[in-house]
């Protein structure tokens, strides 16, 4: 449960682009189309909604 809670928190930060930003063009906390695309392709968006 502890790990799942941390995972959901990390995913939340990941979606908001507050986790692992390596590109100088990517501003902290700004939406990124690539991340939304990857989530969609891996069927994760609906899955997280359910969680």
């Amino acid at each position: 449960m502890k790990a799942a809670r941390k995972c959901v928190r990390d995913l939340d930060m990941f979606c908001k682009n507050e986790l692992f930003n390596t590109s100088p063009d990517q501003k902290y906390g700004e939406t990124n189309a690539f991340r939304q695309k990857v989530m969609n392709e891996l069927f994760l968006s609906n899955f997280i909604y359910k969680v």
Partner: protein, 528 residues
């Protein structure tokens, strides 16, 4: 050959083959021993790889980390003074970082000696192996070992000899040597060693039954567990944990994967993650999952959604079309060569691109079918053939290595055929004889197939596009988070049957397990 700084290595117990120290590094940082002799979608050899770095200086980084501690808040002044202090510290940290980078560049390629301080960077997650000052999960008397994002005193280790002849020689460590890994960071400042726990049996459980329940209530709860899950509970699974022990040490074998190569090199390396883009169709080879009759079916298809953006000149590929280039001996690394054999491992599912011979009903002729396979067999061994028409210097057959963004023909070794696109059944019916003769292919009307090697090979040219580090990290992070989320979802779903420890407040939630599993079956399948 001596082991050098910058080399990428893996560790395995000296007494067993195909067994390595493995850590996920994204959502879990438990360091465990994993066997690679069976299929597990979560196993990936890149998660066993560590790069050897020298010890770094972290004076200013430590100072900055201390300031984040609320207890040290009084040290931070306010207003302009505060701003100056932060700017000053920032500059010092950047200088320190550059100094550490220079140190790494200087020692890269130099042999490592026993007793020399080193750091081990986990390749997949880009985190340092780190000693944790807390008790281990299985052997409570030992310390935990995990991963840290930044280097510190806790990430410093050293190799020590484990045989007399190693002590008496010049002290240089050779490839495939057996060593002890030691750290001096324990509270007592005593030398302590990386140690493997004894195999510990862990009962598989979907959920815990609250221990305080007694007699009738417990029985009632157990009765409510569905039959299928009741069988799961109680099955044994063996875990070997990697920890740090003050008392005992374990010999570990160093398995050399590859030497250091600068990121600016112009050729592909084993372990690189690529998209296979069919040059004529401008389509990417992807794997699509279909849920039919309660069974998941993998299909290898062409995807036309992946395009090179005009403004950025960057390839935006489909995540389901990311393939890991793996040497036919999975523990071998190094540059990808024209004259050697490789496998394509699908990043999301962990399965191999494979070609199988099948016969159609009522026909004697054999057909090659492109599928995904769990096991690594001779059916999934491919090699790269240079395209005769592509006259790029780095792509020429004179160079023994396959260049990044090279045009190649993907040849299946067992059947001596090449990967190509062909019209699918529906299109064949619709097309006129003239159109078929013209033979022009469109991605949305085609499917991947195998054609005999030698015939019009230029049509079968694929462009290999390497994914950059951040694309790989983002995808791997999401894939790693799947099993945890599924486990969580399953636990929550089961709450109407059994009380989950610490979550009694959810006891009355009513979920339909079947509904959740079917709706999200596709996700769950990827994970399993």
């Amino acid at each position: 050959m001596p082991l050098t700084f910058g080399s990428i290595i893996s560790f395995s117990p000296t007494d067993s083959q195909d067994t390595f120290i493995h850590v996920d590094g994204f959502v879990k940082d438990k360091v465990l021993i994993k066997r690679f002799d069976h299929f597990d979608s979560k196993l990936n050899y890149s998660k066993c790889l560590f790069q050897i770095y020298p010890a770094f200086i972290n004076t200013y980084k430590k100072e900055a980390q201390m300031l984040r501690d609320p207890r040290n808040e009084y040290k931070i002044s306010y207003g302009q003074k505060r701003l100056n202090m932060i700017n000053n510290l920032q500059e010092k940290i950047v200088t320190e970082f550059n100094f550490n980078l220079e140190t790494f560049k200087k020692v890269t390629g130099q042999p490592i000696h026993f007793g020399q301080t080193i750091q081990l960077l986990h390749i997949s997650s880009n985190k340092f192996l780190s000693f944790k000052n807390v008790e281990a999960d299985i052997e409570r008397e030992n310390y935990k070992i995990g991963l840290d994002e930044f280097s510190s005193d806790m990430t410093i280790f050293k190799f020590l000899p484990c045989y007399k002849h190693q002590r008496e020689s010049e002290g240089v460590i050779y490839l495939d040597d057996s060593v002890y890994i030691a750290t001096t960071n324990t509270a007592l400042n005593k030398l302590s060693y990386v140690h493997l726990s004894n195999p510990t049996a862990i009962k598989l459980r979907k959920f815990d039954i609250a221990p305080k329940e007694d007699g009738a209530e417990r029985e009632e709860n157990e009765r409510l567990i569905p039959e299928s899950q009741r069988n799961e509970v109680g099955k044994l699974k063996y875990k070997i944990e990697v920890n740090v022990s003050l008392e005992s040490q374990t010999r570990l074998k160093i398995n050399h994967y590859t030497n250091f190569h600068s990121e600016n090199i112009n050729f592909l390396e084993c372990g690189d993650i690529v998209w296979l883009n069919h040059s004529e169709l401008d389509a990417t080879l992807v794997c699509v999952t279909e849920f039919r009759n309660k069974v998941f079916d993998y299909k290898v298809e062409f995807d036309i959604g992946s395009k090179i953006t005009d403004n950025l000149r960057q390839f935006l590929g489909n995540t389901n079309g990311m393939w890991i280039i793996e040497h036919s001996s999975y523990h071998k690394g190094g540059p990808v060569r024209w004259d050697q054999s490789y496998r394509f491992k699908h990043l999301s599912s962990g399965m191999y691109l494979s070609v199988q011979k099948t016969k159609k009903k009522g026909e004697n002729k054999n057909y090659s079918k492109i599928i995904l396979e769990k096991e690594s067999t001779s059916d999934n061994v491919f090699s790269f053939v240079p395209v005769a028409g592509a006259h790029l210097a780095e792509n020429s057959s004179h160079s023994p290595f396959v260049a990044k963004d090279a045009f190649v023909i993907v040849r299946h070794e067992k059947s001596d055929s090449v990967l190509q696109g062909t019209f699918d059944k529906d299109t064949l019916k619709k097309k006129t004889a003239g159109e078929l003769e013209e033979g022009r292919l469109f991605a949305n009307e085609t499917k991947p197939c195998m054609v005999k090697y030698g015939a019009s090979s230029e049509e079968a040219a694929f462009k290999i596009i390497k994914a950059n580090y951040s694309e790989v990290w983002e995808t791997s992070f999401l894939i790693s988070s799947f099993p945890l989320l599924t486990g969580f979802l399953e636990t929550v779903t089961n709450m109407n049957y059994v009380r989950v420890m610490g979550l009694e407040f959810c006891y009355n939630l009513k979920f339909s397990r079947k509904q959740v599993v079917i709706e999200h079956g596709q996700c769950i399948y990827w994970i399993r």
